[in-house]
Structures are given as structure tokens and as C-alpha cells.
Amino acid sequence: MASRAAVSKLFARRASSASRRSLSSFPDYVLRAPSTDVSTLDNGLRVGSETVAGSETATVGVWIDAGSRYETAANNGTAHFLEHMAFKGTSKRTQQQLEIEIENMGGHLNAYTSREQTAYFAKVFKKDVGKAVEIISDILLNSKMEEAAIDREREVILREMSEVNKNQEELVLDHLHATAFQGTSLGRTILGSEENIRSLTRQDLSDYIQTHYTAPKMVVAGAGAIDHEELCGLAGEHFGSLPSAPKNGVDVAMEPAVFTGSDYRVKFNSEDVAHLAIAFPTASWTSEHAFPLMLMQMMLGSYDRGHGMGKNHASNLCQDVAENELAYSLNTFNTCYKDTGLFGVYAVAPDNKVDDISWYIMNNLIRLVHTPSDAEVERAKVSLKASMLMNMDGHNNVAEEIGRSLLNYGRRMTPAEIFSRIDSVTTSDIRATAAKFFNDQDLAIAAVGGIHELPDYTWFRRHSYWLRY
């Protein structure tokens, strides 16, 4: 049933054509890594897994190519609402039965919704992998979505909304998306508007399932104590009936993201802390600029006054911030989407430093166009390798990486490929990438709090280039 195309086997065939010179440039510790097996079922569902020798636990889950950006203004919030309803009972299990079943087997069941993806995953013992796949398919495909339960959940989601918005970084980055991609679906929030949360209907939810839960848009991913053949069998058994195209015949195309240079300011006069994000639109997951952008994120770095690193930072921006005491914290973000990305800096600063920090942030962003040094690029390469690999700690992270990679890249890169791609980036690539996306370009700014000092849009735009020869 499963047309198995193990990545390791594909590699084996290619290896013969690879030159001896390039093979020898990959050290043993890079190649002695577990491989990812990938298969595609007849209906188009992909199954990806990594087996960890000697492990007794596994993470399995379903990653779906559908998130809030696939919604319209009218049904914004549906993907996230569905995630809540998934845990409220199915045609086979009541909410309580579901919860007790998971807890009795010592497992964990969790889910999240992002702008482009929805994921449901479980952590279980080796012997319970089959049960976990069955439970996930049950909550995904047979969710009961009772009217009364939907109404009860509205208040829960609204409470979640205030919890999310208490986190100023989440609030500012939501505002940033809203202004940068205004009028398009990528600009909307994951939770949806208060109005939508109060008004979404059972029909909205089931329409969403019909439209988006199709086999080619889904990946079953597993890591740990997983046998790939067995996982393919389980996926076929529990997800084999998924259609290859939407049942209602409506294949909703993703609305392209259109960037608008703009700003959005939410000023609270009595506050003395400013939360601000400054960003340029960049490139998609698969762009040739993806790795240079990741390195640029490392070069700009992050800073936290509380972390005691003080002025020890390798990043020029962080040194500026530390030396001039410009911010409480600062971090560089590099968010990728299918057709675009957002790269920028989020900072929390005292209100009387906002003008200064704006200058330093713009100066350091545009500096990458003109004077990045080879030394800092090399240093960023080491940091990037370490941070990409450090995150691969534990089966949850590996399963998530497999699920996301299959949706974003159509495959998972090996450590050897990641190392090779990082190593091949040159200082000139960094300059070209910074020039393409930052130099003399429009940008987006979002800010909340004590922001009376924040320069106007024109000032930021004027500082997106240097007049030098």
C-alpha cells in the first residue's frame, strides 16, 4: 500500500555519483546520524520518521498544511477554534474518556496552530504508538463539535486571547503582521477577532475540515521508538480514507501575501516602556536567501540585560545596546512563510531611549549591506550550526522538525546538508541578501507602550540606506 521511498535508500544511489573529494569533506560525526525515512501513501499522505536506537518512547503526530492564513476575514480564527474542539470529544470518545485514556497510559497529547500550519501530536511508550495514531485520527476526523461545547469554548478562547496579549512580544508581532501584510490573510491573527470568536459556527468548523484536511496537505511524523513500516501501516489504517482533494470540491488557493510599507503605533501615555518591532519583508522557506538570512539573524543576535553577558556579545548590535544601555532586551527574528518572510528586530526599551535604539537598529541592519566582516560571518556560522542542532534535543523536537520540513521543503535536510549549506554562504552573499531586502526598501514598524519618542515612518525609510560610495 505504501510506496516506500526511504530517504536513506535514495541517498545510497546518489552517493555513487558524488565525488570523492566532497565526501571526504564531511566528517564522521556529521554522517553518523539517524536517517529520516519518508513514504507517500496512495492518497497522497506523507509519512516521515526517524528511529532512535534504544529508545522506549516515541512522539507521533500529524502536521497539516493549514493555518490562519488559509482563512478569510469572515472565518479568521477557525483553525485555532478547531484545535480547541479537537479535545472536546469525538463520536467514539467523550472529552473525559479521551483525557483519562491518555493520562492512564502515561502519555501526553498536545496541539498548536500557527499562521501556516496546524499540528496534533502525542508522546507515548513504544507499545502505545498504534493507539496514539488512532487517537489523533479520531480527534482530527471525528471531532464531535457539539453546539453547546462550541459556545462554552468561546469564553475559553477569549481568555486565551487576553493571556496571549499579555505577552507584549506576541502583541507587537501580531500588530507587525497586521500592518506589514494589511488586507491579506497573512496579516490576520491566529486566534481571530473577538467578533469572530463569538460568532464562528459549527458549519465554519466543518467546512474548514472539508476544505483543508486532505491527504496531500498532511504529514504523519514520528521520532524515537518508531518502526517506519509499522507507522506507514498505522497511517494507512487510520488516515487511508482521507480524500486526495477537498470533498466539497472547493480547493482554496493560499492568498498571496502582499507587503505594505507601513507602521502601526499603540501609544499608552502613562507607560515608560516601549515594545517595538522593525522589520523588512524577506524570502520564503526555500529561497536561496534562506541560509544567508539565518546567518544574519545570528550576526545581529539577541540581548537580555538580565543575562549577565553584559558587553560580552559578539554581535555589533548587542554591543551597541549594552554599551549605551538602550534596551532591557532585544532579539532578532527571521520568520519564513511560503511566499515571503519577515526579518527584523524586536526590542523592549525605556521610553527615553526609543529614538536612540531606532537609530542603532537601522544602522546595524544596513551595516550588513556595506561592512559585514568575514570574521563575524564565520562566527555566525558556528552559532547557527550550534543553535540548529541544539534544538534537535528530544523526540518532540525531531518529530516537529520532520513534520515542518516535509511541509515546507518537501523533505528533511540531513545534518550534512545543513552544514554544507551554512558553510557555503559567503560574506558577499550576506551583503547581497541585505542589499536585496533592506537597502533602500520599505519596511514595517509596530510599537506598543511608551512610544512618544518613536521616529516617524519617513525617518525609518530614510535610514534604510546609507549615502556612501
Partner: protein, 581 residues
């Protein structure tokens, strides 16, 4: 619209002068005005705020001009060098500025990237991974060096490895309170060879991250580092562990503490409650009852000499009390590194562990007195936090696993928490306490273990002053019923499964694997594998749990610790003790 932007050639650009970029972009930009958007103030969008925000929005099309400081003086009527583009005021005229921007755009646009797009097929030059069948299940290996240091490691087949050094020295051994806390706070600062800045830079250059965790009984230094750089990392570790530079003690420590506090604000109340518990259970005259943290009173008493002395006589002179552990590294390699960088140590002293006897008692730390434990800037708490505990065995006790199963069975957590099924929502502290009493903020079971003994207990917090007595009653009731009523099979089996799954899940992490190997070898001289631990967990019966409960409650005075507000509402120690008679 499309026509204009696609024709934004250089010629059109010139014609429009300095504004062309904006005009072109403005065409495609949404129109929204720079206006005072009505203050639609939603409590969900801006929670915790009482003031209405003033919201403004701008779009790029509203920008009229970027370069405003053009001058009428052209380079040609300059006195000195006609080819110099700058005008008399040292500024560039608009036309020159425009030329530079155009040249930048065309120059940069012509650079060809060496970075490639990520295609659906694997690039030819990427070799395959070693076949999975060649990666055998990793095992823990232990070697004892000639000088007594034990080396333990396990492979993980990753590209990062975690290596570190643990010692059996902790704050229980220190002559003046705060030394070990200080060593923890200042670790990876300056050493005899490097200063703090150099160390931070070296770590960054090697792809390394450092972790330090010192406790009452052990110290731990480790780094997570890219595998090829592990030798450099080990050299740095030896420098950091064996040769830290100890100067200006109280001052540096105070400064470092301020930073630490800022980071740990949220956990601070929990930490303080944990300290109060140790004092209440053992009394501050015994090793386990001493405050682990440096305080306003004790820090000024520390001198570079006293810290150095302690260091020389306990950590540096004690290879037999040291373990070097590594996760994600070959055993031979780690043994070699350990010999190279720690092989010269000689045994000449070890810390004196004096067993502490359980006493039971009460110790409260109110808001006003909190400064004496950590710092004066600790935020005032509206909550009353109470912990109620009884003695159980320590690391070497047969009933330790039983205590852990019981802790999972009681479970608990916070009344507002994220996460799906699996977080223990059917544990007793959720089902019988948090779900029942809306005034409870948190309620959970805990264990603490040391060499000679441990504590088992329950803790809870509430913001309601009139509920403090109820809270203590509920906690006492949860403990008391364990002795009289056997736990039922379903909840016991659930607790066993959850504990096993938690243990195994934790061990998936390289960092935790490292820590587990190190601590086990330090405590037991060997490492029990996860399968054996799981068997022990499975063997715990309802009888075992009842026996443990009877043993800890019978004839022992309770330990009561509390922090925060409304402490006067807590029943007296005598009264609580009477409940258990």
C-alpha cells in the same frame, strides 16, 4: 498601476527625481491615512491596561520626500575642487544622492549568490548518512582514572555533545553561608588564565553554551558544544572548575545576584519556600537546614581568602569526589580528555558530610522579612504559600521510588495552565483540590532528597486571607488520608505510567542524559539504566504507598513552611501536629 511600476526604469526614475521609489511603491500600497484611529479598546486585545491607547497608522504612500536637505549650490561653483560632490555645507545635493542610491541598487543587484535554493531533491554533493543499522543502541560506560575521578559517557549520534564536571561538594559543606551560591553565580567568569569576556567569546566561537547548577550536595558545570570543539571545551572546563579567579567577593556577588534575581523573579517565591522548608525540617544548625543562598547578612562576611580556602580544600583537592560526564561523545575520547585536563589532580582532602537528623517544626518568611533571605528587592506577594511535609528516606532508601510514584499520584500544578491531557489533570491535587476549591491558585506534591534523608509533602497557595486555614486543612487531609485509605489500582497504574513516561522523555534530552549519568555515578557509583528504573516503578504497590505514608506520618512532627502574606492565619505547629495524632 502595474504599468507604471513595471516601467520604473532608470529614465522614469530620473524624471521623477528623488521621489520615484516612493511613487512607484505608493501605487501598489494600500491606502490608509495617517489618522487617529478610534480608540477601540478591547480588554482582550490590551489586557491589564486601564488607559485607552492612542492608535496611529501610516503607510509608505504617505511619504512625500526622503531627502529634504537639498542645496542650491552646485559642485561647479565651488572654490576648491570642482569634482568634489559635496557642497559648501558638506552635504550632497539631491542629484548626487540619487546617483548613489541608483548605483548601489545596480551594483548589489548584480552579485551572484553562492547559496542555493532548497529544492525538493537532495543536491548531488550531499553524501548519505551512515546506514541506521550501523548505529547500535548506545550504552553507558564508566571508567575510574588513577587519581580517583570517575568518567561516564554515552553516545547519542548527534553533532552536539554535552560534557561537564560534577563534584560531591555543596552548600551543606560550606563554613560560611553563601559560598557555593556565589561560586554558582560567578562560574564561567574570570579564571587565572582568561577573563570573563574571553570565555564568553571562546564559547561563541566554538558553538558552546554553558550551564551551572550548584545545590546543597553537589556542584555541576557543563557545556553543550559542537562536537569537533569538545577538546577546547574540556580545556576551558578544567580552567573554570579548577582555577576560578576569586577577588572582590562581596561586591561582585551582590552585582551578580541583582542580575540573577531579575532573571528568576517568577521562581523566587518557590525558591524561598523551599529554603524555609529545609530550615523548618532540620533547623539551621544542621547541614541540611542551612540556607543555600547568600543573604544580606552573610554575603558581607565572605572574603576572597575564605572562598579560596573552601575551594582549595574541597573541590580542587578531591578527585575522588568528582565525576566527568559526557553525552554524545565516545568513551575513549572522553577518558583521554579527562586524563589530559584533570589527571594532575591529587586527593588531599574532602568535604565533611555530617548527617542531619529530621526534627520537624515551622519556619515562616513574611514579605517584610524576605530581604533577609535573598535580597531587598523581592516583590511583595499577595499570595500565602504553604508547604506541609514529613520525612522519608534519602537517595539510598528503598522507598525512594515509592515516594516518587506517590508524588506523581498526588500530582497537581497551577489552576491556570496550558497543555493538553498528560499534564496530570486526573491527579489527586487537580481532581480533589484545584478543581474543587476555586480560591486555590496552585496545589502540588513535592519531594526533596539528600544523602541521609528526604522530605515528602504538599504545597499550595491562595490569594484569599480567609482561606489560609482551609488551605492548610486541605493539605493535611490529603496527606492523612494516604495512611488510612489505600490508593486505588487505576490511579496507581496511571501514576506509574506517567512517572515512567516522564523519566524516559526527560532522558531523550542530551543535557538531561548528561546530568543523570553524572549525578547517579556521583551518588551511587554506578548508573542504573532506564529499563531498571521503570521496573522499580512498576513494582510499587498500593501497600508500599500506604506503608510509606504510615511510616512518615507516625510519630514524626510535621514540617510547615510558609511565605508571602497572611501568615498569621496559619494554624500553629502544635495544632497541625495534633491533627496527625
Amino acid at each position: 498601476m502595474l504599468l507604471i511600476s513595471s516601467r520604473s526604469s532608470i529614465r522614469l526614475g530620473r524624471a521623477l527625481g528623488g521621489y520615484r521609489r516612493h511613487l512607484c511603491r505608493a501605487m501598489s500600497a494600500d491606502t490608509s491615512s495617517d489618522s487617529n484611529v478610534a480608540a477601540n479598546f478591547s480588554k482582550y486585545e490590551y489586557p491589564n491596561r486601564t488607559e485607552a491607547p492612542i492608535i496611529t497608522a501610516t503607510t509608505a504612500d504617505k511619504v512625500v520626500s526622503l531627502e529634504t536637505s537639498g542645496s542650491s549650490i552646485t559642485p561647479s561653483n565651488k572654490i576648491y575642487d570642482p569634482s568634489d560632490p559635496f557642497d559648501e555645507r558638506g552635504q550632497l545635493p539631491l542629484g548626487e544622492r540619487e546617483k548613489i542610491r541608483d548605483k548601489q541598487t545596480s551594483d548589489f543587484g548584480s552579485i551572484k549568490l553562492s547559496s542555493l535554493p532548497i529544492t525538493e531533491s537532495v543536491p548531488d554533493f550531499i553524501p548519505p548518512n551512515v546506514a541506521s543499522t550501523e548505529l547500535s543502541a548506545p550504552e553507558t560506560v564508566i571508567t575510574k582514572l588513577d587519581n580517583g575521578i570517575r568518567v561516564v559517557s554515552q553516545e547519542t549520534y548527534g553533532q552536539m555533545c554535552t560534557v561537564g564536571v560534577l563534584t560531591n561538594v555543596g552548600s551543606r559543606h560550606e563554613p560560611t553561608s553563601g559560598i557555593v551560591h556565589m561560586l554558582e553565580t560567578m562560574a564561567f567568569g574570570s579564571t587565572k588564565k582568561y577573563d570573563g569576556l574571553q570565555i564568553a567569546e571562546m564559547l561563541q566561537d566554538w558553538g558552546g553554551t554553558r550551564f551551572v547548577s550548584h545545590s546543597r550536595e553537589q556542584t555541576l558545570h557543563c557545556i553543550d558544544i559542537l562536537r569537533p570543539n569538545v577538546r577546547d571545551g574540556m580545556q576551558l572546563l578544567s580552567e573554570v572548575v579548577l582555577n576560578p579567579l576569586i577577588t572582590e567577593v562581596p561586591q561582585d556577588f551582590m552585582e551578580a545576584l541583582a542580575v540573577l534575581e531579575f532573571q528568576a523573579q517568577e521562581q523566587l517565591p518557590e525558591l524561598v519556600l523551599g529554603e524555609a522548608l529545609q530550615v523548618a525540617a532540620y533547623g539551621s544548625d544542621q547541614q541540611l537546614g542551612k540556607i543555600h543562598f547568600g543573604t544580606q547578612e552573610t554575603i558581607p562576611l565572605l572574603t576572597p581568602d575564605s572562598v579560596q580556602n573552601f575551594y582549595d580544600n574541597s573541590i580542587r583537592s578531591n578527585p575522588e569526589g568528582m565525576v566527568i560526564a559526557g553525552a554524545g561523545i565516545g568513551h575513549k575520547e572522553l577518558v583521554e580528555l579527562a586524563k589530559d585536563y584533570f589527571g594532575a589532580m591529587k586527593q588531599s582532602g574532602s568535604p565533611a558530610t555530617v548527617p542531619s537528623a529530621y526534627r520537624g517544626g515551622s519556619h515562616f518568611i513574611g514579605n517584610s522579612t524576605q530581604s533577609s533571605i535573598f535580597s531587598p528587592t523581592m516583590p511583595e506577594e499577595d499570595f500565602c504559600r504553604v508547604a506541609l511535609a514529613f520525612p522519608v528516606g534519602g537517595w539510598h532508601s528503598d522507598s525512594m521510588v515509592t515516594a516518587c510514584v506517590l508524588q506523581t499520584l498526588l500530582g497537581g500544578g497551577s489552576s491556570f495552565s496550558a497543555g493538553g491531557p498528560g499534564k496530570g489533570m486526573y491527579s489527586r491535587m487537580y481532581q480533589q483540590v484545584l478543581n474543587r476549591y476555586g480560591w486555590m491558585e496552585t496545589a502540588e506534591a513535592f519531594t526533596t532528597f539528600a544523602d541521609e534523608g528526604g522530605l515528602f509533602g504538599v504545597s499550595a497557595s491562595t490569594p484569599a486571607p480567609n482561606r489560609v486555614k482551609d488551605l492548610v486543612t486541605v493539605l493535611a487531609d490529603q496527606l492523612a488520608r494516604l495512611a488510612f485509605q489505600q490508593v486505588d489500582d487505576i490511579e496507581l497504574s496511571r501514576a506509574r505510567n506517567m512517572l515512567k513516561c516522564n523519566v524516559l522523555t526527560q532522558l531523550e534530552s542530551r543535557l538531561i542524559l548528561f546530568e543523570d549519568m553524572g549525578r547517579q555515578v556521583l551518588t551511587y557509583g554506578k548508573r542504573e539504566d532506564a529499563a531498571t528504573t521503570c521496573k522499580k516503578i512498576d513494582a510499587v504497590t498500593a501497600d508500599d504507598i500506604q506503608a510509606l505514608a504510615l511510616q512518615m506520618l507516625k510519630g514524626n512532627a510535621p514540617t510547615i513552611a510558609a511565605t508571602g502574606s497572611h501568615l498569621d492565619q496559619i494554624p500553629s505547629h502544635e495544632e497541625i501536629a495534633r491533627w496527625f495524632q
